[in-house]
Symmetry: D2
Subunit: 351 residues, 4 copies
């Protein structure tokens, strides 16, 4: 079914495969009259693009976006925006050897089972490259949110057990793992380098904080703010979990400990992560996602081929040894898209 469409009133429809001609997105339901140019989109795409540092894949893509519709005289018109990014450095030849086998941890097997056909070049639609469309749409969503005072900041919280202990938001974009703790950054980078050298990869945790969301956003009982953010986050390849506020820590807490009491200044704590009953409290929204280690590793692994024969698999291609640094702009984009959609839904409800 039409699973590449997200959002109810602010809706994106993404398209494109890793080694097809292009990737991108159509955004519909856009507020008219917003000043928008390609540079607004490009700056977010640049944070996501491959080849940006020693901890990302060496694949080279300029990821230059073109806005093909929906903007006139520098402003959105309220009609759909097509944003397209042509693929450049495809090297499909790299994948010839894996077209008949299922790489462990990859969606090769499940795509084959579901569709009976798959574009094996660079994982096709299951590639992280698919997220370029999300980030482009998310850049527009972020601009809409910024005008309403909403700011979204994600950062690497943990890589392979090395945790960020400090939260210095201004440091995030200054280090290539995008962590908020400048002391943890070199250790994280070293661990990623070591993983890559041993033809392996490493997992991590990314945290996202959102300020400026007014109380009242989220549509119970199913389209709750946390439920939508969970869906948005889990729809990103490689994400295996999400938790809000103290999250799984709540399992060992009492009600007295977990409840955020209030006084005249507002909430005295934020264990709930800024969402109660599926609706924003006005407090900072805080959640974390579990990011699995990249499936593509150069080390040999056991698998089977299309005919069910056991084979050994060594993934060549070019891959990120750790997904966290590049998943950050994607997570921010998805959070922005979920928020704009729910804020607009709230406007419809109370109209």
């Amino acid at each position: 079914m039409s699973g590449s469409i997200y959002g109810k009133v602010f809706t994106i429809s993404t398209f494109g495969e890793s080694h097809g001609k292009a990737v991108g997105v159509v955004v519909d339901g856009v507020t008219p009259g917003i000043e928008l140019c390609e540079a607004d989109i490009q700056k977010e795409l640049d944070r996501r693009k491959p080849g940006q540092s020693s901890v990302t894949t060496p694949r080279k893509e300029s990821d230059t976006v073109q806005i093909m519709s929906g903007v006139f005289d520098g402003k959105t018109t309220g009609t759909p925006l097509l944003m397209i990014i042509y693929n450049e450095d495809q090297r499909s030849g790299d994948y010839g050897n894996i077209k008949d086998l299922f790489r462990p941890g990859h969606a090769d097997y499940t795509y084959q089972e579901k569709y009976g056909i798959r574009d094996y070049r660079g994982s096709g639609r299951a590639s992280g490259r698919e997220t370029a469309g999300r980030v482009a749409a998310g850049a527009l969503a972020k601009k809409i949110l910024a005008a309403k005072g909403v700011k979204i900041t994600a950062f690497t919280k943990n890589i392979g057990g090395i945790a960020a202990e400090k939260y210095c938001p201004e440091e995030i974009e200054k280090n290539i793992v995008r962590t908020a703790d400048p002391d943890a950054a070199p250790k994280m980078i070293e661990l990623i380098h070591k993983s890559a050298e041993s033809r392996n990869s490493i997992g991590g945790i990314v945290e996202c904080r959102i300020s400026g969301v007014p109380a009242g956003v989220g549509e119970p009982v199913f389209d709750k703010l946390d439920a939508e953010l969970a869906k948005a986050a889990l729809s990103i390849g490689g994400v295996k979990g999400i938790e809000f506020g103290v999250g799984f820590g709540a399992a060992e807490m009492t009600g007295k400990e977990h409840n955020d009491e209030m006084d005249v200044g507002g909430f005295k704590s934020n264990n709930a992560g800024g969402i109660i009953g599926g609706i924003s409290t006005g407090n900072e929204i805080v959640f974390r996602i579990a990011v699995k280690p990249t499936s593509s590793i150069a080390m040999a692994q056991d698998t089977v081929d299309l005919n069910g024969n056991e084979v050994r698999c060594e993934t060549r291609g070019r891959h990120d040894p750790c997904l966290c640094p590049r998943i950050i702009p994607v997570l921010e984009a998805m959070a922005a898209l979920a928020l704009v959609d729910l804020m607009k839904q709230n406007a419809a409800l109370t109209y």
Copy 2:
């Protein structure tokens, strides 16, 4: 907006407040020709209903369901089913004292901010009582799934730090905390009793396992199976996180460790929890949710009232000291609803 509707092709629309006249659900998109009677629904509602044991609220509700449409001569007709449960033991008087204040940890504040009005009796729509409609619809979904060989089993994995170490599915319904480890059960029960006695509550973790789902279920790139299950689970009140397979444990794993290698027998491990690329692998689906401690506690807490004055709040009413035992049938219901919806979507895709 219309947030009380869930599902794209198999769709439920729930209604009802804790202390209104009734709660329930309309289910649309039902496969015609399924044998169905009220007893099929009632057995699941009985697992959810209050007053069933010493670890649940003493509120007494028979939760008797009536099917008002969509069934003829004992079979579904393919037209919408209304399933309604009248409220009986409401005692609204209990809530008079809290109508002007915001109970800590409750949705009182967020509902007031969002809607400008709220039914303060027993949390109104934000009550756990809202889930009766989900469970009724989920009972039908489970019946549809059972005919396709799918079985959903949830159980208490952890209460306040006491973990279930064994997995004995046949034990789950034999103990009042619904854990799969008969040795952990008495300790969990004792901890809940102690929490209740100290006018407090306690959190926990529930695990869900689903067998029999064929490979190919889930609609990338947004309506992935894990993304939909995450939304479905997080839409339940009190759930603060979800993780699939090894979940947050993936943060400390390498790709070689996390990847589920394959041989002629299929997958050699199940770290992914039965879902790769957002599509079922055919392996058992495994996920866990974090359940916060019940917000309603009898202990005094700080809060503010509608006028912004600081007040002390002691919640009377009747509440569960731990949400896990009763959240289990709700989680199973939501998982069943998500699965039927996605399995039908897959049928539409490949038609």
Copy 3:
């Protein structure tokens, strides 16, 4: 699929069969804070109910509505409303003789082909009785619209060739065919009586006029105002066509004749029927629907039974000899539902 759900942001989910236990609707996405009581709903249901005059079916139903949720202290809370109407005068025995055959013009055959099962009592879900839920939801929609200055008026324009030549809106509810032309009313009534006496039925045309809709309502390019009104109207049983403004008359007009020129006073004509480019112009919205003659007639007709044998069919039951008088409140309801949904969508767009 879930075809009994209508609306994107203001959504209704209807249920119920002609001779089941109840019919009704769940409405979700309701603006909070609207004063609402059962009398607001009942007055519209009374316009639709059977047995109200000599030109309607003699079936007796009080059609008493109960609001079961979503209203607190006399106001909507923004949560779903269940409105239920219990069936009373069912006389299912009337239908025993037709359970194995397909009545000409009825949905018996198509329901059997689609679902493989059908509730043959009074057409089950295909009965006009299904529209009670629409009218109940529409009454709420009308109330929301009235507060914004929108007024919807439908009337019988033509019965079997007898046309209403005058438009006197205050006359509509004063005659039992609900025509706006008091001179045509007695002739229309006479024709209907004559049709009934000859065990036959008669078709007609209903016109709908909507004033007070501001310019800007409608969501191109698919969810245009006229496209949505067309879907809403054609979803009513017995409606076989719709036209806006001069409608099919446009086929014989030139652009110069059809274009509504403008001057400082606004549009100088309204050939477009108040909608251009799928968006309201601010002018009165005008459209007409073609209503087929009631399928159920007492006269003998040729048909086949479930086994494919040719049989003669005489429909007993109790039926309207002409659908127009009772379709009027249903058409108004559907127009109101479409309008509220699109006006709220417009609010979301421009938020």
Copy 4:
């Protein structure tokens, strides 16, 4: 809101303005494994493209489509298809003189009122050029339907009062007005030429016939087959009405006349137009649409400008003197899209 998205399970998202960079569509929910190349799409676009004859606008566009994703090794993969058509012959200069005024009969006024901004070049999004995306997606839908034995044929039934009396489907593409009556064709063409010469335009009626649809398609009570076809057709610019089977003629018929009786050979007539109770009967589906005369005429007309001043308007640009010939492939496309969506929905229902 997101009004440029159509379909629930087979979904299209169109984009593009008349004088922007490109127009096109993303199609999601595509059955995997269908052989598809650009020529399959191009042949339908060629039927829609401007400049094809003396009765269409002289604007020259090759309308060359490129498939950018979703096809691999000549087959659909089940992932979204982007089909893009770059604009070539734009001549925006033609429109400078009308940027501050509202052309009569055009969506200039309503777009300005709705969005507060509009792309005035060639009507922007309100241009008929928007339909290229629909036709591209429709070509794919037609291919899916053809494999299931469904054939859609539309033709000009009436131009300015000149009616097609015969139905010779093989003649349709042999005359430039696309009528099924070769005798009427020259008279229709003459009338269109005369209209153009007098700087005016002319309306008409288009009929659509669909064979091969099995009984059972359509999702009551709102997503009925006729309701969806009505929405699909009315969403096309310039369409002002639709009628099924005998349509508005039903207003003057009795039940005995209108009912399609049955015998062992099936239905003995087809007054219903192949749809009863919103579900296909298996009979040929027949409907007609009213097409207004083109709004853009060279003759001077009264209107107002953005500041409310009265002005005279003479539309230059290049326009079709009659919409019927080019609306035919668009109507077929929309019918195909509605049908594929509903046939897939039916598959989901009965799964």
